[in-house]
Amino acid sequence: MSETSSNEARRLAEGARNRVRFEEDALALADQVYRVARGVSRSKEEAEDLMQETYARAFRSWQSFTPGTNLRAWLLRILTNLNIDRGRRAQRTPDSQPLEEGDYFLYNRIEAATGETEEERVLDRLSQDHVAEALAEVPHDFRDVVVLVDIGDFSYAEAAQILDIPIGTVMSRLHRGRRILKKEMADLAVEAR
């Protein structure tokens, strides 16, 4: 074998090894990526579709990933971009901003509706199903940030990198998103009685 062709063979083998390593690393993160997918999706089926689209795209464009950088953030950037494309299609009135209330609103509303005065009893009026249902009502710009930071445990800086927005925007969307979430939860918790 000439020197050129053996170098070529070595280069190909090296590329294949890198790709397999990339694929294995990406699949090992699937459970963590799924938590975010499920958080930003309205249903399990939607989350599963989103996961498949995300991984199909990741495997196709593996060469654009820089080894040694944050693969979890890279995967979630693909996922949130795909989800934004869908969200924009589904959103009927993009201009209408949801009403948000102050941070005590949820507590005040449950207390007023139930007459409960103990914190534990007020909390008992809420369930994980309420959270999931309320999250689905939060517009995706806000929901993505809340899911990444409050469910996915990402820092502001990581969320900013994933969503390609400034850190200040992450913080303002997080604060507003949490308030919108609580307002949606108040409607569910008080209606459900």
């Binding site: 996961m51 999250l135 979430l181």
Partner: protein, 77 residues
Amino acid sequence: MSEVDLCDWCEEVLQPYLDRDLSATDAATVRGHLAACNWCEKRYKFEGDLRRLVKTSVTEPMEPALKAKLANLRLEL
């Protein structure tokens, strides 16, 4: 600030306080108020409990069938 104004102010800084984004001076003012105001203290405790509820709301694990589908999306060598 009057006590009622302090309650309003504490509602306003609830999130940065729990996120530890508040200055040391402001955080001390919050702690001082919470020690004296049961009304705000309950609402702060509730917010912490609510955050734990939100964090654990997505608990359903990924279906093994989905995991297999993802693995199958790998490109052929």
